[in-house]
Structures are given as C-alpha cells and as structure tokens.
C-alpha cells in the first residue's frame, strides 16, 4: 500500500504526519519526495548506507556534422537549444530530457549523454529513503521516478510529498492508494487544501484529512470537509510542546505514548478507509 502525504501549503505538518506514520506502521518505508529540500531525516535519523546517482540524458552536439538547420531548437518545447550560424548552444539545465532534438536531427549530430542531477539515499533496511536534487538544478521529476524503484512490494510506503500542487506532487501521487491531506485552520490552509483536494479527486485517489494546529474553532476546515465528504482522520492541537519537540528533532510519536497510540490507531485505520472508498 502506498500512502501520499501532501498539503498544498508548506509548513502545515506533512513531515510530522508522514514520519510519525512511518514510525508506527509495521513494515513501512518512509519515502521523502521533497527532493528540493528533504527533511524527514532530521527526525528519523537514519544512517544512509546506500545511494544511487540520478542521471538524465541531455543532448550533445557534434559540430563537425551539424548543418545548423535549426530543427532541434524548433522542436524543443523548453528552449534548451539555440542555433546560431556558427554553432548550437545547449542549455542543459532547461532540458526536460525528452529526446525530441535527437529524433529530428537529420544530420545525426545529436547524441544523448548522461548528466547527474541528484542522488537517492537509503538506509540498510530501506525504511528511510530520500531523493536529493543537486543545488542549482531546476527539475527534480526524474528523481521522483527513480525513487519509486526503491518502494518494495508488500511494504507500506509513506510518501512525504513536496509542498504545492505542481508536477512534482502529481508525480509523487501517481500509483498511490490513498492520500492524506494535512491542513491547518487558517484561510491560507483552506485555500491550499482546496487545491490539493481537487488534485487528488482529479487523479481518482481517495483522501482523508489530518487537521494540524487545531484550535478552539476549526469550522473553516470542518465546514469544507463536510461539504466535500472528506473524513477528518486526526486532529493535532496547536501546541507549544509539540512545536518545541519538533524544533529539537523529536516527533510527537517519539515524545509521548499518547501520540504514538493515536498515530498507531490512524495507521491501523488507513487500509480500511482506503478500501471503503474504493468499493
């Protein structure tokens, strides 16, 4: 089973929920998909002993056979090539590795070569796995695709998604059985929850809510959830204790048996709620 944890808005508690769930779920894997800024390791403190470099294929031009016809630059949807009368300039950081340029090159002047964009790191048992995009690289999607290879069949994978609802989140969500939408009772939280809820609905993935930083009046989120028929699976109060622990690298499930129990209960319910929505 694959469970995605996403939120739209950053800083709502994706990592708190995803890492906590991974800790209390039997035979689980925590997959940090926030490749621009993975941070689950701060709490799970794994020893990364395995790694694999993520590479993409980018065009290399053989100027000795290039006719400077310009076909490669015209086909490129990402403006990663420019053809001057003298040579072809490639901007590999803009390249999306689709290979169209080499397909249209009649002169056969384009070969595709490997370029490193990041790395995947994992501990010995595959409990903690993270993707990390190299500094300065703009496109992390290929790392997300490689990350999925590390998910082992038969284990429960908890995917800690990047913030937002962009391509990176869509790629993280693909093939997931259930989505946990983490939100907070603020107008900004609701605004981005709506975007996230619409995304999972469009992708046909059943979803439930974890309401973080809950206060006395959470009606802003509760009203929306009732309207949309989204179950609130868990409420985590706005608590100084939880925040202080978190800033020291301690998750609620590590700090108190009460929270270990509540997250354990949530973990136990998840296969049932995911199944219930499907049938």
């Amino acid at each position: 089973m694959r469970i995605a944890v996403l939120s739209g808005k950053g800083g709502t508690g994706k990592t708190t929920v995803a890492a906590s769930l991974a800790l209390v779920t039997a035979n689980s894997q925590y997959i940090d998909c926030d490749v621009e800024e993975p941070n689950g390791f701060l709490y799970l403190k794994p020893e990364f002993s395995r790694s694999s470099v993520v590479k993409v294929r980018v065009p290399q031009i053989d100027e000795s056979v290039c006719t400077h016809c310009g076909a490669c630059a015209r086909i490129c949807q990402f403006n990663a090539l420019a053809v001057t009368p003298k040579r072809v300039l490639t901007f590999s950081e803009l390249c999306h590795h689709c290979g169209a340029c080499s397909l249209v090159c009649e002169a056969g002047a384009i070969t595709e070569v490997d370029r490193r964009i990041g790395v995947i790191e994992a501990d010995a048992v595959g409990f903690a796995v993270q993707g990390r995009l190299d500094v300065g690289e703009p496109v992390g999607i290929p790392i997300l695709e490689d990350l999925k290879i590390w998910i082992e069949p038969g284990r429960t994978a908890i995917l800690d998604c990047p913030p937002g609802a962009s391509c990176a989140v869509v790629h993280s969500l693909e093939d997931c059985d259930y989505a946990i939408l983490v939100t907070e009772p603020t107008p900004f939280g609701l605004h981005d929850l709506k975007i996230a809820a619409e995304l999972v609905k469009t992708m046909g993935i059943p979803a439930g809510i974890v309401l973080n930083k809950a206060g006395k009046d959470n009606s802003i989120i509760e009203t929306y959830c009732t309207e949309q028929n989204l179950p609130i699976l868990l409420e985590i109060p706005y608590s100084r204790k939880i925040a202080t622990d978190y800033s020291n690298g301690i998750l609620p499930v590590q700090a108190s048996s009460e929270w270990a129990y509540r997250f354990g209960e949530l973990a136990a319910r998840l296969p049932k709620v995911a199944q219930a929505v499907k049938t």
Partner: protein
C-alpha cells in the same frame, strides 16, 4: 540596415519594451525605408528559456542590430555568437530609439543584466509554500 527593437506595442510610436525575452513585440524595422513588421513574441509566457527563444527569433529574423533594455546571461551568450550588433535602448518610444541609433547615441551591450529580469514575481517559478 535591418533592426529589431523590443516594443510594448506593434507600432514604432509604442514605448520600447525594456524586457528582452518577455517583451510584448519584436519590431523589425528597415531603417532605409522605415518599413516595420511586428512579431508577437510568442515565447514571452514560456516557463523558462524565454531569453533563449527570443535570441533565436532575432537570429532567425536575419537582422543587423538589436535594441532592447536588459539582455539576460543566456540570451547574451547566444547573441554574442552572431554578427548582430547589440544596443542598450532608452525608455522612450521605438522611433526615438531608432533616431538615437542612427545618431550613434546608443551604448552597445557589453555585459548581461541579471537573469529573470522581465519575469513577474513568481511567474513560471515552482512555488515553495511558506518559504517564499
């Protein structure tokens, strides 16, 4: 001489567009006849590489000179590879810039401005919620 001037409108009475990659229009002007052709800059909404695409459009237009505001590092890299003369225009109309060009009053571009100059706040950029 054929010149491209980045422009906010399709005629030479329009203010020059200081953005290059994200300019509204490219005006191709034959300075001998003053015949003007306006090209709508299709790549101004590109999520990335607008300057490169614009530089390619300038090359493909086969002009002798370019007058614009800020050239980003990528666009400058492409255009430096050509014989096209690059001029830094003033924030007046396209026609006025042409007069200054003819009078030899425009500076040639020697270095690039910052990248993403003409890009509105956050446009086309991946958003990191809460960390803006």
């Amino acid at each position: 001489m054929r010149v491209i001037v980045t422009s906010t409108g399709p005629t030479i009475d329009s203010p020059m567009d200081p953005r290059f990659g994200r300019a509204e229009y490219f005006l191709i002007i034959d300075t001998d006849t003053m015949k003007t052709t306006a090209i709508d800059n299709a790549s101004r909404h590109a999520s990335g590489g607008a300057g490169i695409a614009a530089a390619q459009a300038v090359i493909d237009a086969g002009v002798d000179a370019l007058v614009t505001g800020h050239l980003g590092p990528n666009a400058l890299n492409v255009l430096r590879d050509t014989k096209i003369a690059l001029y830094e225009g003033h924030q007046t109309t396209v026609a006025e810039n042409l007069n200054q060009l003819k009078a030899g009053q425009l500076k040639t571009v020697t270095s690039s401005g910052p990248s993403h100059m003409g890009q509105g706040g956050g446009m086309g950029q991946g958003r990191r919620g809460g960390q803006l």
